[in-house]
């Protein structure tokens, strides 16, 4: 069996740890190609973006007239949702309800950042706390399954909870901090399969879970891509895509204006995600999500390739604390360190080993792109 030779993109830093990667004659990968040819031409942060945003803001304000809030904004305490919150309140004059989903893994920085922003911006906060017993059981089931997308229980719950709230309270607009500036290059599906695939989630739970899923919020791709927007008129919008969003500048502003505490890496507002992306994924599967994040910053001119390569030389986790972090995750999951290590050492599986709706995703993605309804997206 021929093992693909190692190759790294000459433009960004994605490499053959993404097994589906394709390079052109100049050694430039298909992620870059997609960005240059499909994403960038349709991504407007200039006058066009501004007017699109103004239109959206007008609609949101209209719908929210006379209500306590005109939209909900998903807040994790991370840089994207934090900056978005500041921007929509201070610059666009919206009145969002700050919506936070607590999955039991908040870091101190995350709660501090949410508190500072909510207080200083004078906004209301709503928190949905996921039943920890159900979350723990589902997370453990994912560990047992051997797949690489073990952060699905958190991600899935975030979206399911927000949609449920919007539906119950007849909220028409959900604002999220998702953005092309730092996410135009996405984690390959092989690394992180679709977190919204309820069929996969239920199958893994059926095979390895012990708790009932009753108190865990489940959604589905059809529910939130078709039912909610087209039947219920609930839209998920990403305002950061319509403005010039530069990560370093955003951090600086938040630190100075709000006493915001930065994280060592993207998504580290959750202790679990920090462990998952910083240690589990690279150690068990060889997938380093920093490659994806740095590559996005490289193609958008926010980071040099040299700088990225230098950073990638050091491990993505803190060697002085990893033993305790490992212990903490085991303790939270209610298992021994030995058992957790056992899951680390067990054979690697993929989403294909369990039931899924991946054909639905593939079809839907094709439709959306053909209709020009979506740029970017995973592959």
């Amino acid at each position: 069996m021929n093992k693909k030779n190692y190759q790294i993109c000459s433009n960004c830093v994605m490499d053959t740890t993404d097994s589906q990667i394709v390079f052109d004659n100049n050694g430039v990968c298909d992620h870059c190609d997609t960005f240059i040819n499909k994403i960038a031409p349709n991504w407007h942060t200039d006058e066009q973006g501004k007017s699109e945003l103004q239109l959206l803001v007008g609609k949101i304000k209209q719908v929210g007239k006379g209500k306590d809030f005109d939209c909900i904004l998903g807040m994790s305490g991370g840089i994207d949702s934090s900056y978005l919150l500041y921007y929509v309140k201070e610059k666009l004059g919206l009145r969002p309800l700050v919506f936070h989903v607590d999955a039991g893994w908040n870091s101190q920085e995350a709660v501090n950042n949410i508190e500072k922003l909510v207080d200083k911006l004078g906004l209301d906060l709503y928190t949905e706390v996921i039943d920890w017993g159900a979350m723990r059981d589902l997370q453990l089931a994912f560990f047992k399954s051997g797949v690489s997308h073990i952060d699905t229980p958190q991600d899935h719950a975030f979206f399911a909870t927000m949609y449920k709230f919007a539906e119950q309270h007849k909220v028409k607009y959900i604002l999220t901090g998702a953005n092309l500036s730092t996410e135009c290059i996405r984690n390959p599906i092989e690394w992180m399969y679709y977190q919204s695939d309820a069929i996969q989630l239920r199958d893994i739970h059926r095979k390895f879970g012990q708790h009932s899923l009753k108190s865990y919020p489940v959604t589905s791709i059809l529910h939130h891509k078709i039912y909610l927007p087209y039947i219920k008129g609930i839209k998920v919008v990403r305002p950061l895509n319509s403005i010039p969003y530069v990560k370093q500048d955003a951090i600086k502003l938040l630190v100075e204006k709000f006493g915001w505490q930065p994280y060592p890496q993207k998504h580290f507002e959750s202790r679990f995600t920090r462990f998952y992306e910083g240690y589990w994924l690279p150690k068990k599967f060889g997938y380093d999500t920093r490659r994806v994040q740095f590559s996005s910053l490289i193609v958008t001119g926010q980071m040099t390739r040299e700088d990225a390569l230098l950073k990638l030389k050091t491990p993505p986790y803190d060697e002085s604390t990893i033993v305790q972090d490992f212990e903490y995750v085991a303790t939270k999951l209610g298992i021994s360190v030995k058992e957790l290590q056992g899951y680390m050492d067990a054979p690697n599986k993929s989403y294909r080993d369990y039931k899924s709706q991946d054909s639905v995703y593939a079809f839907g993605s094709w439709v959306m792109k053909s209709l020009g309804l979506e740029i970017g997206g995973k592959r």
């Binding site: 709660v111 909510v118 920890w132």
Partner: protein, 260 residues
């Protein structure tokens, strides 16, 4: 000089954190281990964790949970809930907990206080008085079993009694003020404060840092405990762990102490 203490109080029910209103109506707050970890990172003065259905369910304390919580604390931890025997107290202390709180056991078997003081030291023996106003004359009396069973016992007299028996600290928990967030029960606190010289901690009613400031202004060295204040935010009572940072805490204490 010694500082007043500002103490988050966490309630555990079925292994999860909850917050009550007047000892009823419990709202789910989440995983205790992560909450304690966050409080530790926020460098809180100390922490009280009470298992609120251990007594009524007549079961042993959850030693695994206690051990895991103690491991996260670089500040003193006081644990209570269902503690009735000296061996339970010793076991809890051995798991890394500084103080053990007893409530109904102090009423039913007051000798336990003296026994515990002899073995683990009085500094580790905390007696919690759950107090509610009852009867036509709205007299304060002690209640047990989560505020359901009345005892007919006057809190001031009982506080004196437990001091004499060797307790190291008294916690006054005003049931009527629990979760309401409209201020501490100052009269109750004063009546007990004037009658004993033990360290005192008060719980029930704190709705803002101003309430804590007012408490310190009035009583000086005291433990100001709060549940809802450090766990909820805003009009929707959104769960968000919060606690003043060192600068804010020092400023609050300094201001209040200067007025004391």
């Amino acid at each position: 000089m010694l500082r007043p203490r500002i103490i988050p109080c966490l309630l555990i029910k079925n292994g999860g954190l909850v917050k009550t209103v007047q000892f009823g109506d419990s709202k789910y707050v989440g995983d205790p281990i992560n909450a304690v970890r966050i409080f530790n990172e926020k460098e809180v003065d100390e922490l009280i964790v009470l298992d609120i259905d251990a007594s009524s369910q007549q079961r042993e304390p959850d030693y695994t949970l206690i051990k895991n919580l103690a491991a996260e604390c670089r500040m003193p931890l006081c644990y209570g809930g269902g503690v009735k025997t000296i061996s339970q107290i010793q076991k809890i202390i051995s798991l890394g907990v500084e103080k053990v709180a007893i409530s109904s056991a102090a009423i039913e078997t007051p000798d336990l206080i003296t026994q515990a003081a002899d073995q683990v030291g009085s500094q580790s023996v905390v007696v919690v008085l759950d107090v509610k106003k009852n009867g036509i004359l709205r007299r304060s009396e002690l209640f047990t079993l989560n505020g359901i069973k009345k005892s007919g016992i006057n809190p001031v007299e009982f506080a004196r009694k437990v001091e004499a028996l060797g307790a190291g600290e008294v916690v006054i928990n005003a049931i009527d003020h629990d979760g309401v967030m409209k201020g501490y029960d100052i009269n109750l606190i004063k009546s007990v404060r004037d009658s004993i010289s033990l360290p005192m901690t008060v719980l029930g009613g704190a709705g803002s840092l101003e309430d804590i400031e007012g408490l310190i202004t009035q009583f000086g060295i005291i433990g100001a405990a709060a549940g809802s204040l450090f766990v909820f935010k805003g009009k929707y009572r959104a769960v968000l762990i919060n606690y003043p940072d060192r600068a804010a805490k020092d400023a609050l204490i300094e201001k209040a102490s200067n007025l004391f």
